[in-house]
């Protein structure tokens, strides 16, 4: 491993990744657990995300209010995210105040209280979060497309979970899940910033070595069988806008086809920004933007391929112009897909996609937090060497390999097509009252 990354596995199985950066007096700490919505059977959907909320409710040693105050007083920030394959908690702190959050993360790996009243109070908060998501037509469409794409694999439900399960899961379900998956041998600790590696490693060892490893967590082994034909799903709603979502099954991050797929995605819908901090670039020269937006079929088009442990989806999303039908848009997309399946892209197109990827990586290095994110995130879906070699791997992609992955994956039989159809032009009513 290059780039002066220190990669150590402690005796209890915790992987520690450290990168010293001395450009600003900041340290960014991330703890990653290999647990996400992929580990949730029916009846327990949303449990990882709910636990993520409870991790902020504190421990006996660090009660929630005390922690929140201590971190905020130093000007730090903390948050967490749950996704298909992982859960992560992170803190961004002034460098000389990192000890507190080092202790906090080690403590809450084992000592979260799961107070029944707090679990109950968080139930309604999460239902409210889900209701906020439901206000968005694209959330509702995505939820249906994902459910149709994955009949067997647990990627079939949204990370936030189904309302039925959010209403019925109990405190003990959460606690048992916590004890099973939130253990050192299922975690990666990544830090980047203004520290001395040797010194901080000593602190980390002191804090984490006493935590015993647990049994290897169970995994749901339910691979999705190959799709046998196109699947279509329609969501209706009271909004005024039509959306089209096209999802093709694609392989996991570690698969040799994943890198050519990144280039294919870049050519079709523009470069995806995998950095979590910072914006991407526009996609107006991408093939689908030119075909759809510049031919007045859609207002916008976006796409992306997710980096996941198991095979997931490449998703294209369009806002359809009011005077056009989603079928017209779909036909045009199919034409563009056929074009790249029939004729490999030019070397110039590839060179441009590679330069775009290189620039996005360079922009990402501006942020210390982004670098700590990549240490851990790449370890969840592959490993950090994968991240370091992505640019080299992209540079080696040939026009023919892009053509081949287009032929292999962008077939109608491998596709879920989702339509969001507005039902009627809804009337906005405004009512005013004065005291």
């Amino acid at each position: 491993m290059s780039e002066n990354i220190v990669n150590i596995i402690l005796a209890n199985g915790l992987q520690v990744l450290l990168k010293e950066i001395h450009t600003a007096p900041i340290i960014s700490q991330w703890i990653w657990y290999r647990v996400g919505s992929r580990d949730e059977p029916s009846g327990k959907t949303g449990i990882a995300h709910w636990i993520e909320h409870i991790l902020f409710k504190g421990t006996e040693r660090f009660p929630a209010a005390m922690l929140d105050k201590a971190i905020s007083r130093e000007g730090g920030s903390w948050n967490a995210m749950t996704y298909l394959d992982w859960t992560t908690c992170f803190e961004i702190m002034p460098a000389d105040k990192i000890s507190l959050t080092l202790e906090l993360e080690a403590d809450r790996m084992v000592n979260c209280l799961f107070n029944p009243d707090e679990v109950e109070s968080e139930r309604t908060v999460i239902i409210s979060e889900r209701q906020g998501n439901e206000n968005e037509p694209l959330f509702r469409l995505n939820e249906e497309v994902q459910a149709v794409a994955f009949r067997v694999h647990p990627y079939h439900h949204e990370v936030i979970g189904d309302l039925a399960d959010l209403k019925t899961m109990q405190r003990d379900d959460l606690y048992q899940h916590y004890r099973t998956y939130y253990i050192p041998n299922n975690a990666v600790l990544s830090l980047a910033g203004d520290f001395e590696t040797e010194k901080i490693l000593q602190q980390i060892e002191q804090l984490y070595q006493p935590i015993p490893p647990g049994p290897t967590p169970p995994r749901l082994n339910r691979p999705e069988p190959p799709q046998q034909g196109e699947r279509r799903v329609t969501v209706e709603g009271p909004d005024d806008t039509t959306f089209l979502m096209i999802a093709h099954h694609v392989p996991q991050t570690t698969h040799p086809d994943f890198i050519p797929l990144l280039i294919l995605d870049s050519l079709l819908t523009g470069p995806s920004n995998l950095n979590i901090f910072g914006s991407g670039i526009s996609n107006k020269t991408s093939r689908l933007y030119r075909a759809l937006v510049e031919n007045d079929l859609t207002v916008s088009v976006h796409g992306g391929v997710g980096a996941t442990i198991d095979p997931f989806l490449h998703i294209i999303t369009c806002i359809v112009r009011p005077e056009k039908t989603p079928q017209e848009v779909l036909t045009r997309i199919e034409d563009e897909i056929s074009r790249i399946q029939d004729i490999p892209p030019t070397k110039e197109e590839l060179q441009r996609a590679i330069k775009q990827a290189r620039a996005l990586f360079a922009y990402g290095t501006e942020s210390i937090s982004n670098q700590a994110f990549w240490l851990g995130f790449s370890s969840m879906v592959s490993n950090y060497d994968w991240y370091l070699s992505v640019l080299e791997q992209l540079a080696e992609v040939s026009p023919e390999s892009v053509q081949q992955v287009a032929q292999k994956y962008l077939r109608p039989q491998n596709r879920v097509t989702g339509f969001y159809i507005p039902q009627s032009s809804s009337q906005i009513q405004i009512h005013t009252e004065s005291d």
């Binding site: 130093e74 000007g75 409210s128 206000n135 670039i281 906005i428």
Partner: protein, 432 residues
């Protein structure tokens, strides 16, 4: 070179100050501020010109925004395809956005592409062509965005809030306009708006990244030094705002929504007001510090009513707003309103504690270097220094300024701006 060193959190030399910001004013009035950072090979720039929606005709609201959105559709030197070929081949960004007082802009590129980006930026700002076909496509996009806005509970609540608090004032009008007003705007209108309001006087451009300031100034001067607009008007004066005299409640019904978005608040201080720092610290205590301050504690942590519930202070050139916002289930709307109004009443009638104030003061001081971690963060901060005439050494004085605020000042400020019996209470969603 000297830096303000009085606390470990602010002692690092990364805080921008007059010592490392170069400020140059060109003869035509353009102010350039540049600060080098060679830690990554990228450069960002941002800034603004003095053209905003205050100049929009009543029946053509959205003109400033539409003009800004059309600048990159083609220029006298570069057509649409060439512009985006150049930008995207270099993985560079360039964007314009029409605001109320100003049109702002921003860009980012690798250091090797800086001159190319400034050339495009200059061409877009000074010589846009407004090609018909592209403008009509942009119009369709803007109208779709307005249709999406009409279905967005948070945006519709915000719109209704502005119409209530800023009634009969230009701030009541949305910068994006309405569907009908966007339809009214002709090609000629866009050209005239550009011709009349776009000019170098009052333009500010901030460059941060892997370039020496002198070089940045040279490049900008080469492309902007000759720009003149003898007809450029002076900035538009704002009329006096008539304050609300009683609580006004407004409900916006939007079908098929699971959650109601709620905004409660009033007029807040402008950014240059002496009250700003006291209001800002008070706002932190009310609904920001930690897990969204007192509001988050009661609405989310204790009652479990909402995923988000916080307060915010939005301060600019003219009167600002001071609001509490929350997203709740429809059946919990009234309960949440009652809780929030009760908290506002407590905030106004009782002094915050010394401990609460010290917590927020420490937060403000400690988070400063974190907010200045990236080039973008630094560029934004420097741009604000110029826009609100805070002085290049503002961040040197920041800690003293924050620490000078007392609990009494916070109560006075809260009392001045927030009256629990005279609030705008606005909510949008599928209400029963």
């Amino acid at each position: 070179m000297s830096f303000f060193i009085s606390s470990p959190s602010t002692s690092h030399k990364s805080l921008p100050s007059a010592a490392d910001i170069s400020r140059v004013e060109l003869p035509n009035g353009i102010v350039i501020l540049a600060r080098p950072n060679f830690n990554s090979p990228s450069i960002v720039f941002n800034g603004f010109i003095q053209a905003g929606s205050l100049a929009d005709p009543e029946d053509k609201l959205g003109s400033a925004n539409f003009t800004a959105a059309s600048l990159l559709l083609g220029t006298q030197e570069f057509d649409y395809q060439t512009i985006y070929d150049k930008l995207e081949s270099a993985a560079a960004n360039l964007n314009f956005e029409g605001g109320t007082h100003v049109t702002s802009f921003g860009g980012r590129c690798l250091a090797e592409d800086f001159e190319m980006l400034i050339q495009l930026f200059s061409s877009a700002l000074q010589k846009p062509e407004f090609p018909k076909e592209q403008v009509e496509r942009k119009r369709a996009q803007l109208i779709t965005n307005l249709i999406l806005r009409s279905q967005d509970t948070a945006e519709m609540a915000s719109l209704a809030f502005d119409q209530t608090v800023f009634a009969n004032h230009p701030y009541s009008k949305p910068e994006e306009g309405y569907i009908e007003t966007i339809q009214n705007i002709t090609l000629e209108d866009l050209k005239q708006f550009h011709q009349k309001y776009y000019g170098p006087r009052g333009m500010v451009i901030v460059v941060v990244g892997a370039i020496e300031p002198q070089k940045a100034v040279e490049v900008i001067a080469r492309y902007f030094g000759d720009w003149q607009n003898p007809h450029q008007p002076s900035p538009i004066e704002l009329p006096v705002l008539s304050p609300m005299t009683e609580t006004i409640q407004k409900k916006v019904f939007i079908a098929g929504k699971s959650q109601v978005d709620l905004i409660i608040g009033s007029v807040g201080p402008h950014r240059k007001s002496p009250d700003y720092m006291a209001a800002s610290l008070g706002n932190s205590i009310l609904g920001q510090f930690g897990m969204m301050g007192r509001i988050g504690d009661i609405v989310r942590e204790k009652e479990g009513l909402a995923y988000y519930a916080y307060s915010s202070l939005n301060a600019g050139i003219g009167p600002g707003s001071w609001v509490v916002a929350a997203g709740v289930a429809p059946q919990n709307t009234q309960k949440t309103i009652d809780l929030i109004v009760k908290e506002i009443r407590r905030f106004v009638t009782e002094k915050v504690t010394q401990e609460e104030l010290e917590d927020s003061q420490a937060n403000f001081i400690g988070r400063l270097p974190i907010s200045l971690e990236s080039n973008l963060g630094v560029a934004y901060a420097i741009s604000n220094l110029e826009r609100f005439e805070l002085g290049l050494d503002y961040y040197r004085q920041y800690e003293d300024l924050v620490r000078s605020i007392t609990v009494e000042q916070i109560q006075e400020t809260a009392h001045h701006y927030l009256d629990p019996d005279c609030l705008a209470i606005v909510f949008a969603g599928s209400l029963t």
